[in-house]
Chain length 93, copies 2
Amino acid sequence: MKENSVFQALADPTRREILRLLRNGDMTPGEMIGSFNITQPSLSHHLNMLKQADLVIAQRQGQNLVYSLNVSVFEETVGMMLDIFGKKNNNKE
Amino acid sequence: MKENSVFQALADPTRREILRLLRNGDMTPGEMIGSFNITQPSLSHHLNMLKQADLVIAQRQGQNLVYSLNVSVFEETVGMMLDIFGKKNNNKE
DNA sequence: ATTATAATTAGATGGTTGTCTAATTAACTA
DNA sequence: TAGTTAATTAGACAACCATCTAATTATAAT
C-alpha cells in the first residue's frame, strides 16, 4: 500500500465527500458533479488522485465511467493507523 | 477536529515515524533527530505540523521541549475514516 | 554578563497541489 | 460520417510543502 498517497488523498474535503457519495453506491463523474462547486476537470483530477491511491476503482460502461470504492485499501489504512497508535487491532472479524 | 491538517500531517513518512517513536514514550527533538536524515529545523517543521493537527502536544521542561502523542485526536480520525467507509463503529470498549 | 545547549523562526528554493479554460479522446446516435 | 455527450488530458497559475542554511529565542551554567 502507498501510505503517502492514501493520506494525501484523504487530506482534501472534496475527495472525502466523493468517498462518502460512493459509500451509497457506485457513481459516474456526471452524477457526482452536481454535489460540488468545481468544474469537471477538477473533479476528474480528484478522482484520479483517489485512483492513484487505490481508494477507488473505475470501470467503463459505454460512455460512462463508473467509480466504486475499494474498501480493502481503506481497511488496511485504518489498520495502519491503529498500529501507529499502538492500539491492539484484534477486532477484524 | 481539523480533518485536513490531520490527514495532511499523516501524509509524510517522517511524521508517521515521529508518531511511532512517541508511541514508545515522550521524546524531545534532540532525542528524535538521530532517527532521521534531516536537519533539526526540518524536524522542527514536522513537529509543528503535527502540533497544528493536534496529533502531538509539546511541554517545556527547562531547555527541552517534550513532545507527547495526543491519542484522542487519533482515535477521532480513525472513527471518521470508519464513518466514511460505512463500517459500523461498534468496537469501542 | 558570557558562553553553551536546545530548539524555533526567517528566508530561499525546487517540487507538488487545486483550480481554471481549452483541447482531446471515447463512445453512442442518427 | 457528422454530431452529441461523457470524461480526461494539456497547459497555466497561485498557493503550499519539504528541505536547507543562517539567524534568533529560551534556558542553563559558570
